[in-house]
């Protein structure tokens, strides 16, 4: 337990180190979620259209 708290304290730089990693996780994670959702939504729309027009390519 002492080990973990010691590690989390980052030698007194905890707020800077963890904020930096937090920002990275937020921005890159946000990009990943947005891109994933956009890809899925656009595939669904295309599938429906192709089904309706009977063109499957």
């Amino acid at each position: 337990m002492l080990h973990v708290t010691h590690w989390l304290a980052m030698g007194g730089y905890a707020e800077y180190v963890w904020s930096a990693y937090g920002v990275a996780a937020l921005v890159l994670g946000g990009l990943a979620v947005h891109s994933w959702r956009w890809h899925r939504a656009s595939s669904d729309v295309l599938d429906r259209l192709q089904h309706r027009t009977g063109r499957d390519e």
């Binding site: 590690w7 980052m10 030698g11 007194g12 730089y13 800077y16 180190v17 904020s19 930096a20 990693y21 920002v23 990275a24 921005v27 890159l28 946000g30 990009l31 990943a32 891109s35 994933w36 956009w38 890809h39 939504a41 656009s42 595939s43 729309v45 295309l46 259209l49 192709q50 309706r52 027009t53 063109r55 390519e57």
Partner: protein
Amino acid sequence: MPMLTRLANPARFMRASSTALPWLGALATGVIAVGLVWGLVFAPPDYQQGESVRIMFVHVPSAWMAMSAYLFIAVASGVALVWRHPLADIAAQAAAPVGAGFTAVCLASGSLWGRPMWGAWWVWDARLTSVLVLFFLYLGYIALVNAFDDRTRGARAGSLLALVGVVNLPIIKFSVDWWNTLHQPASVLRLGAPTIALSMLLPLLVMALGFMLLFGWLVLLRMRAALNERKAHALRLYGQLAAGEPRLPMAPPVADVAARAALR
């Protein structure tokens, strides 16, 4: 190069990218996980900067990706302007928000590192300012591409901006040598051997590889989404024409009235 020209066909690109996508995503996640544990737990603290040096493992790879993504956009824009290849524009536009994201991470993590080490969140020196300019170039490119009703004109204008902005890349890279700055000089990508210890260099390179894979995954996802949207748009037009609906684009009624007035 022959492989690139083969993949330049949109239908072939969709097939190849759908196979590559899950592998790339899994690989990116795995490599970043290894890099995080290595950098945050096993890498040693710096003898001068202590534990704050761990910010480097997210700051430096995102800086490298910020510049590489811009280079990618510039090359794709060049290809789009010269060969008018449809996938090149789509690739450049897919990479822009990703590059802007990496630049934002680089600026924020750098600020969080500067505060404890330099005593300032921000200084207007050459390195920091030129990276801020890079961030605005990304935003300008995205805004310009979307500013036109005609998609090809927007893409053309964006490509030109991307190519002009390339002059900023060597300025960023050599800013630490050309001007006095608080920012430390290059310790990895320099003439001669790296000056950074191997125990820090290795996790740094692992994180850089992870970010590169993440970039590839994100760009492929966004390219596929954009291609899906264009195909759906074309299908809708096709459906309207087949159903005998009015042709697009329709003459605007204003022009019609003006024409009649002129004839009278």
